[in-house]
């Protein structure tokens, strides 16, 4: 089992100090990510869902060490990422790549597509000029773009095509782990499925492991093997994709799932409507972070913070709720 684990995140914390006053002393913390743990097996797809601001993207960027996490351990391919030296980190970055949400933002608008796609090879000193040219053409072909795109600039492409360029750059160095940070959220629905299928094809072809982040449950369900639901910097429920949809336990998951529109006019709507706003991660509520919005909250929820524990003695099914036994059908 442990041999198959590609990425192991253990109790990852990302706290941003908030300074104020005359001497800029730390007066508070923004608990953007507060103790997130999960594992991803080789070849698997883990989906992370949650509202905006719940820390999904921060987790992704901390795994790549684009942000320095406050605490916690990240193990990638058996190596400790957090305490890794710079040259080692540079090497290992070939094995983990990221696709961003907004391709217009993530592609340098002053570079041609050729320059953008060549950059990974240049940084790692791979190949001669001619070889790199050829690789770039291969990459474009792989993501379904024409090879004459090389001399064009990102803004000359449509949103979907731009995202393909972003994907091509991410897979250039043949990574093992591909982190997709809301890769389709900025796209039209009609384009979304094309991009998702491209990702799935690439996963099969290149034996990729995906960490798929989104706020759209339907999208995540389509691609993921397992899904983790995040709320305010914590994972509240994690389960196999199928089971999570069939058997949501955490009230937040239930609310999320019931908010997916179903194209069936006959179906009766049973909505667990959430009221109120997401509390600020600067001053998270005591007890369960969700209790203020939870329709089932009891006394204990306001006092004690629930742990993420296995449920029904299923090691894959983790829920963080005091009352979870009540919700299991």
């Amino acid at each position: 089992m442990s041999q198959d684990v590609l990425l192991k995140v253990d109790d990852l914390k990302m706290h941003y100090p908030i300074r104020g006053g005359v001497l800029f002393r730390q007066i508070a913390n923004n608990y953007a990510v507060d103790g997130v743990s999960f594992e991803i097996n080789r070849g698997e797809t883990l989906g992370i869902v949650g509202e905006s601001g719940c820390g999904k993207s921060t987790v992704a960027k901390a795994i790549l060490r684009l942000y320095e996490p406050t605490a916690g351990a990240i193990e990638f391919d058996g190596k400790d990422i957090i305490n890794m030296s710079k040259p080692d980190l540079r090497e290992i970055r070939q094995d983990m790549q990221i696709i961003f949400q907004d391709p217009m933002e993530s592609l340098n608008s002053r570079h041609t597509v050729g320059t953008i796609l060549e950059e990974p090879f240049v940084i790692h000193g791979k190949g001669t000029r001619a070889e790199r040219r050829k690789w770039v053409t291969d990459l474009l072909d792989k993501v379904g773009l024409q090879s004459d795109s090389v001399n064009r600039f990102p803004h000359e492409f449509s949103g979907g095509q731009r995202q393909r360029i972003g994907i091509a750059r991410a897979i250039a160095l043949k990574p093992k782990l591909l982190i997709c940070d809301e890769p389709v959220s900025a796209l039209d629905v009609s384009i979304q499925s094309q991009i998702l299928n491209l990702l799935l094809d690439l996963q099969r072809e290149m034996d990729l492991t995906l960490l798929f982040i989104a706020h759209d449950l339907a999208v995540v369900k389509h691609v993921s093997d397992r899904i983790a639901v995040m709320y305010l910097g914590k994972i509240v429920e994690m389960n196999d994709a199928e089971s999570l949809y069939k058997n949501p336990v955490h009230p937040y998951t239930r609310a999320l799932l019931s908010s997916i529109p179903v194209p069936d006019p006959e179906r009766k709507k049973v909505h667990d409507v959430l009221t109120g706003e997401v509390p600020s991660p600067i001053n998270p509520p005591d007890g369960c972070h969700f209790h203020a919005r939870c329709p089932y909250a009891e006394q204990i929820c306001t006092k004690q913070r629930p742990e993420l524990t296995t449920t029904n003695s299923n090691p894959n099914w983790l829920v963080s709720c005091h009352l979870k036994e009540n919700f299991i059908n």
Partner: protein, 350 residues
């Protein structure tokens, strides 16, 4: 087009720049003036362009001095080509001399017998704007003064921008203690009274072109750092920089390949204003007598003379007109560049 693969954004910016007519024409005029000033010796010089003497052609403009003996004159110092021309004319020989349009250099004094300089403008003597208080041609002083002033400010600008951009980018990119330290350092440094320092330095050493560039650099590199620092702070959090970092790019690569190309509009927008600032600074230093030592041709020194000799209005009027024209055109260029980079729909200047 294939060789110069300009980004369509750049082409659009250039088009916009051209649409601001007065800035566009000012740019053409100033650039041609700078280029022409590089070969000013051809237009304003006491040396002849071509001398035809005994069937042989000489080109004295560039190169070593040709002594008078060479042309049958009885002296070993440099030929006076105006006299030579006169002589050939009087002799009626086949030899001839082609003089530049303004046959004086910036250093020689042309004194008339029985008259004290300054002399009024005269077409017959080819002093088109007259002479200054020691009898030097005003046009020559203006042209060579312009050359020195413009290149001084261009060199100063390059030095300023290299230092300012480098420090500003690093402040923004590294942030933290480095940023804080340099911010305070720059604040303190900016408050040193620049003129006093120049006066002190000028009283210890005689400044020359390069030492003046260095002294000025020491007190003017700070301006650019603030803009670059802010721009870098903004750019480094953008996702294309993140993507590059995720690929393993180092600081140098990110700054030179990603941040600077994306902040180039800031740098370019400031160039004309820095040029104008550089010219003004050198002129005012020369005006006060702390700039380049005499007899270097300089606008500031000419302005000083003009103001001291208001009874000879050709001096003050020519220098003031030149300054106004040059500075206005440079400002027009700056305005057009700013307009070209303005993301909002640009105003039309007629």
């Amino acid at each position: 087009m294939a060789i110069l693969n300009l980004s369509p954004l750049t082409i659009k910016t250039l088009k916009r720049f051209r649409s601001v007519k007065r800035g566009y024409w000012s740019a053409i005029i100033i650039i041609s003036l700078i280029l022409l000033s590089l070969v000013a010796e051809v237009f304003v010089n006491s040396r002849a362009l071509i001398v035809s003497y005994e069937g042989e052609w000489h080109f004295p403009t560039y190169g070593a001095i040709i002594p008078g003996e060479e042309f049958g004159l009885g002296y070993q110092y440099e030929t006076n080509y105006r006299d030579l021309k006169q002589k050939f004319k009087e002799e009626g020989s086949d030899d001839w001399v082609l003089l530049p349009p303004v046959p004086y250099n910036a250093f020689e004094t042309d004194l008339e017998a029985g008259n004290y300089p300054p002399a009024a403008p005269s077409f017959t003597k080819q002093h088109y704007l007259g002479t200054d208080t020691v009898g030097r041609d005003v046009v020559a002083r203006l042209v060579y003064g312009f050359r020195i002033a413009i290149f001084f400010s261009l060199f100063l600008l390059i030095c300023n921008y290299v230092v300012g951009t480098a420090i500003g980018c690093l402040m923004g990119y590294w942030g933290g203690i480095f940023d804080l330290l340099f911010q305070r350092l720059i604040e303190i440094w900016s408050n040193i009274p620049f003129l006093y320092v120049i006066m002190i330095i000028a009283s210890i050493i005689v400044p020359n072109f390069w030492s003046l560039v260095i002294v000025m650099l020491m007190f003017s590199w700070m301006g650019m750092t603030w803009y670059m620092r802010t721009a870098t702070y903004k750019e480094k959090e953008r996702e294309y920089v993140m993507a590059s970092r995720a690929l393993g790019a180092g600081t140098a690569r990110i700054i030179f390949h990603h941040i600077i190309p994306n902040t180039v509009s800031i740098i370019i927008t400031f160039i004309p204003f820095s040029v104008a600032g550089g010219i003004t600074a050198l002129t005012s230093l020369d005006f006060l007598g702390f700039g380049l030592p005499p007899p270097t041709p300089s606008w500031g020194e000419l302005l000083r003379q003009g103001i001291d000799n208001l009874q000879s209005p050709w001096i003050v009027s020519s220098i003031v007109t030149s300054m106004i024209l040059v500075l206005t055109m440079v400002t027009f260029i700056g305005e057009a560049i700013r307009e070209a980079y303005d993301p909002k729909k640009h105003t039309i200047y007629e």
